[in-house]
Each structure stands twice: as C-alpha cells, then as structure tokens.
C-alpha cells in the first residue's frame, strides 16, 4: 500500500490544478464563512419620506402627549435610510435600484392615530414600496421593515396604554390635569366616595336622601373595584406573554459554530469523495487496475489505499479549514484530539463512499461527476430539519440521512468542536459502520467490473 500511496502523491503533485483546487477550496470556503459569520447583518437601503410637517408629529391622549416622530429612530436601527422629499423621488429611488424599498409616512398619520385612540375610528397607514425585481432582496427588505414597523407599533401601543393607565389612576385617585393651558384639579372616584359617605353620615337617619346617596356610594365602590382591576390588565396588554426557554438536550451549539461545522464537513465530503472516486477511476482509466489486482495487490488493499489517501488528505484540509474558521468562530481547541478523531472517521466513511462510486465508473470524469452530484443531495437531506416535515417524508429523510455519512459526521464534529450533545461515541460508531458497509459495496462494484 505504501508504494501505491507514493505513486498517487506523485500523480497528484503533477496535477497542480487539481491540488490547487483541493487546497484552495476549503481555505476559500473557510474564509468566506468566517467573514459571513463574524460580520453584522447588512442593512437594506430604504428611501424614507415623512410627509408629517415638522413639529406636527404629536398626538394627545387624555392629559398627556406622545411624539410619534421619536419612534423613527427605531425604524432606522435596521435600515439604511435615504431621506427623500417627495413620493416621486422615493419611487424613483426604488425603480433605479438605489433603494431596495421605500417607506412613506403620510401627513395625516398623527390625526389618524389620535382618532383611533380616542374614538376607535381611524386607519393609520404607513406605505411600503418594494422593488420586486429580486425576490430575495425583496424578502430581505420586507422582513427588515416589517419587523421594525412591528416594534414601532408595539412601542406606540405601550405608550398609549401607559397614558391610559395613568389617566385611569387619576380618575380613581384624583390629581391635576392641564387643559387649554390651565391646571384643573380632578377629584377622583375615591375622594368622591369619601365625600358622599361623609355627607350620608351627617344626614338625619330618617332622611330620604340616605338611600339615594347610598346607591351612589355602592356604584362608586363597584367602579373603584373595576377600575382597580382595569389598570394592571391594560398594563399587561402591551406584553401579554413572556417566554421562558428550557433546553432539554443539554449544552447546545451556538448557531455560528454549527454553521462552521457544516461548512467543514461539506468541504471534507467533497474533497474526500472526489479524490477517492477519481483516484480509483484513474486506475481503470489508465488500464492499470487489472494489472494491479493480478497478484500485485488485492482489490481490498487497493480500495483501502484510496480511502486512506482521500480520507487523509481531506482530514488534513478540514483541520486547516477548522483552524482558519476558529479565528472567527469559537471552537474548543482543548478538544483538538477529538477534532482529529471525528474528522478522520468522517474522512474514512466518505472515502469508502467515494470508492464505491469510483468502482462503478470507468473514467475519472464520470466518477467525479457522480461523486459531486451525489454529495449535494446527501448534504441537503441531512440538513433538512425533520421536525419540519411529517409522516412518510420524515421517515424517508431520516432513512437517507442515516445511510449516508453526512449526519453522523456533522454530529461527531459538532461535539468535537464544542462538546455539545449528543455525545461523540454513537456518531463515531455510525461512521465506522457506514465505512464498512460502503467498503463492501465498493468491493462488490470492482469485482463486478473487473
């Protein structure tokens, strides 16, 4: 096997384009993923037009005032605003592609909100114009704007509720309100009830007013009780639900680490499968296979050599890639020996799959194409969250993910990188089992085509 390995390295050394591709591909992928993960999400450029005249963005509610213009900064937190001065200018920016979308705040929006809050009638509407040429960009801008508009909506709603609760408190307890620039004292229900109770106490026992005033006190009691409940209820409407999250699976992987692991395994899979399938097919393309297995090496040894070659090269490339990614994403260097074990096991399993593919093809191009075409759906299916589908499809996806090495390789490497659940033992056993199974398949394939 040693001389076959030497021979394959000699051949690889004389194929600089292939080697450059095998080395550059994981490094480039690592850098791209690293930059993508470490960079903050971009903000879509959005043309912003407010038709509300300066100083007119205030609504009055009870004794208080809300300045809705102050919420614009919340919207600007997730967009890159291009301030425009007319609707035509906003539309032109969207059409030309200078802005992905436009947000237009109409002049009457304070009045519409005021009317809705005080009378329940009114439809405050913000106009959003999207560029529909690129569906992905359109979705990106749409989500960014809608998410922030929802935040603004919730903030305004909370402020209105806050004002309403404060006014209710004044109705209950009394206080001072401003109206037309003058302060007015508000008696409040509780004070009113006390006054009436004192008046009843001073009335003669036979006074017919006692019964009527007693009804007023009874009504005041009910009203105080009801409004006493109303305040906390109104206060809770703004945020009615709180979420308490508990992880049953133990320590979980940060999303960035998981994404990095996926990229490492994907690169390892491509390099291993292409190399194993291609180098085995090369033996056939060069017509050397029959000469080799005619007593010089056994078919099993030849297959094992290709698995070791491809798995070893890919493991090395994956380790380099992981080291590169660790500059951007947190990976547990203290678990480095487990990195090697997990990536080597994955390399061997993918290598066995690669030689099974190479055993079916008579030439390098066919083997490479077959390996490439198979690797994409293998990764895709393993990454589909099976909880998102149901029934037969879920079973099918689970089965496909089980019979190919991507999922166990991902689990093992994920654990090696961050020590997260599930453990590394079962995925490693799974990978070894798959390596044996694909090795047997490869042996059958080369025997059939010998």
């Amino acid at each position: 096997m040693r001389w076959l390995l030497v021979k394959d390295f000699q051949i690889l050394r004389r194929s600089p384009l292939l080697v450059a591709l095998l080395v550059a591909y994981p490094i480039a992928l690592a850098l791209m993923i690293g930059f993508a993960l470490s960079s903050p999400p971009g903000k879509p450029k959005v043309a912003f037009l407010t038709q509300v005249p300066p100083g007119q963005g205030r609504i009055h509610f009870g004794s208080q005032e809300i300045n809705i213009s102050s919420y614009a900064k919340d919207l600007f937190a997730s967009i890159q605003p291009i301030i425009v001065h007319s609707q035509a200018e906003a539309m032109a920016d969207v059409r030309s592609g200078r802005a992905l979308a436009a947000v237009i705040v109409p002049a009457d929006i304070p009045q519409q909100i005021q009317s809705l809050v005080t009378t329940g009638v009114g439809s405050p509407t913000v106009q959003v114009i999207l560029n529909s040429n690129d569906p992905l960009e359109r979705q990106f801008a749409d989500q960014a704007i809608k998410a922030r508009l929802n935040d603004v909506q919730q903030a305004v709603s909370k402020q209105v509720l806050h004002v309403a609760v404060a006014d209710l408190q004044q109705v209950l307890n009394g206080g001072t309100i401003q109206f037309l620039g003058q302060n007015f004292r508000l008696l409040g229900l509780r004070n009113s009830r006390a006054l009436v109770q004192r008046a009843i106490a001073e009335l003669p026992a036979s006074s017919p007013l006692r019964s009527s005033l007693g009804q007023v006190v009874g009504f005041a009691d009910l009203a105080i009780q009801g409004l006493g409940f109303a305040s906390p209820v109104l206060g809770s409407i703004g945020t009615p639900l709180a979420v308490q999250q508990t992880e049953l699976a133990g320590k979980t992987t940060p999303a960035a680490t998981y994404a990095a692991t996926i990229s490492v395994i994907f690169s390892l899979m491509l390099v291993t499968m292409l190399l194993a399938a291609g180098m085995l097919a090369l033996e056939r393309e060069e017509h050397a296979f029959a000469r080799l297995v005619r007593g010089l090496v056994s078919p099993s040894a030849l297959l094992a050599e290709k698995v070791v070659l491809a798995g070893g090269c890919a493991t090395l490339a994956a380790l380099v890639m992981s080291a590169g990614i660790s500059s951007f994403v947190s990976l547990a260097w203290s678990r480095f020996p487990l990195w090697v074990v997990a990536l080597a096991a994955a390399g061997i399993a993918f290598g066995a799959l690669g030689v099974a593919i190479g055993g079916l093809a008579r030439e390098v191009r066919a083997a490479s194409l077959l390996a490439f075409m198979l690797s994409l759906p293998i990764a895709f299916i393993a990454l589909v969250p099976t909880a998102a589908v149901s029934g037969t499809l879920k079973s099918a996806l689970d089965t496909v993910a089980f019979i190919f090495p991507f999922k166990p390789a991902l689990d093992a490497t994920n654990n090696a990188f961050s020590g997260t659940a599930p453990g590394i033992g079962w995925p490693l056993l799974h990978l070894i089992g798959l390596a044996v199974a694909f090795g047997i398949l490869a042996r059958a394939a080369v025997r059939r085509l010998a």
């Binding site: 051949i11 194929s15 000469r291 007593g295 010089l296």
Partner: protein, 242 residues
C-alpha cells in the same frame, strides 16, 4: 525453430477451458500446450475469444470449467492498452511495478528494463508524452519485470503505426524476447504478424479452437496454392463455417 514434440517441455497448458458469460459461451473446451521458448500467435475473427483466453491464462479471469497449467515462475501479462501511469515517468512506472512485484533490487530491475527497451534516454519523461510505440514498450517491460518464464500479450501492436510495429516486434519477436528463451503468446488481428513472428498459431472462432500448428501447416490444411497466409486463413475459416 521449435524443438520436436518429443523433446519439448510444456510451459503453458490449457485443458478443456470453458468460459461462459450468462448464456453466452466465450470459450468452449479449449485445450493446447505452449512449449518453452515458443512464440505462439492466437488469431481469429472479432469475438473469437482471444482476449478471454489470454485473460484466463494470465489469471485475471477464472474459467467456468477446465484448468490452466502455468510455469513455476511468474507469467508476465501485457494488456492491449498500456496499463501504466501517464503522469509518471518511464523510470517511475518501472520502479513502482518492480516494488509491487517485491523484487529484491528494484533499481537494478529498472536499469535492466531501460536497457532492454532502449528507453534510457527517455527514462525521466512522463509516459503520457511518449509515442504509442514507446508506451507499448514500457507496457511490455512492466510485464517482463518479474523475469517471467512466459509472457502473454493481448494485441500488442493494434494501436501502432507500421514503423512502431516493426520496432515492437524487434523487441518481442524471435530476435528479441523470443531469442532469449522467453515463451511468448500473443493475440493479434494481423495474420501477417502471426505468419512472420510466430512459431505456431492457434486459430479461435466463436470460442472454439479450430487449429493448432505452424503457419505453413495452416496453408497446407486448406489445400491448393493460396496466394498468401491471409487468404489461407480466410479460406480456413470459411471451410469451418465461420
């Protein structure tokens, strides 16, 4: 000239060799012997079973029935297409196979083959850059590395031009390997190569061995006065219903 039957020793022998692929019979009860130092050509039309017969003699395939007797030393095998690595140099190819053959001194074997093939000045050239004729010489040299008692070649000249063929037969034929006492069996489509270089010919058609003898005996077997060996061969096949 080959020795008489009484004094000859069989180097390769096939007894009732039969090979079936499903319902198709590629070889049907083929028996013959090839003697030490002989050059034997296996000729026949397309699909006659020539490659199958050589593959079984080389141990690449096993027969469905019958048995093969090979010499105590190894049997060298030279497939039709050069089975060498085009990205490796001539010397690297020879060294690789010498090591895989577990020869005691691979470098000495490489030197010997470079001399034998007269490719010493091309030793460092990648095989992919050599002419078809030189590639075939390297291909044959790999088959000879283990110093086999018998060498089997499957259509060794099929992809070569006339000049390359002449050089190749100079290397393999009676003035080359044949003259050094190596038993050589080769298949060919070119019956004139069989007539010129072979001591004896085996004629195969549809998996059956129709004739074993010298080219002259084949000409005499069809009677009359054929213009040349090729005409005699075609007439022979016609007479046997092929």
């Amino acid at each position: 000239m080959p020795a008489t039957a009484a004094t000859r020793r069989a180097t390769l022998a096939a007894r009732s060799l039969t090979k079936r692929y499903g319902d198709r019979t590629a070889l049907n009860a083929v028996s013959f012997e090839i003697y030490s130092g002989e050059l034997v050509a296996i000729i026949g039309p397309n699909g006659a079973g020539k490659t199958t017969l050589l593959s079984i003699l080389a141990g690449i395939q096993s027969p469905s029935e019958g048995e093969v007797s090979t010499p105590a030393g190894k049997v060298g095998w030279v497939p039709q297409q050069p089975a060498i690595y085009s990205k490796l140099s001539v010397a690297e190819n020879l060294r690789l196979f010498a090591r895989l053959e577990k020869l005691p001194d691979p470098d000495a074997a490489v030197e010997k083959m470079l001399d034998l093939t007269e490719l010493r000045d091309r030793a460092r050239d990648e095989v992919g850059r050599l002419s078809g004729g030189n590639q075939q010489r390297v291909n044959v040299a790999v088959g000879l590395l283990c110093e086999p008692a018998a060498l089997l070649l499957d259509e060794p000249s099929s992809s070569l031009d006339p000049r390359q063929r002449e050089r190749l037969w100079g290397f393999i034929g009676p003035t080359g390997l044949g003259g050094r006492g190596t038993t050589v069996a080769y298949s060919t489509h070119d019956v004139l190569e069989a007539e010129h270089y072979a001591d004896r010919v085996l004629v195969l058609a549809d998996g059956e061995l129709l004739f074993v003898g010298t080219p002259g005996e084949l000409e005499r077997a069809v009677g009359g006065n054929p213009r040349d060996f090729e005409v005699a061969f075609v007439r022979f096949l016609d007479e046997h219903g092929h």
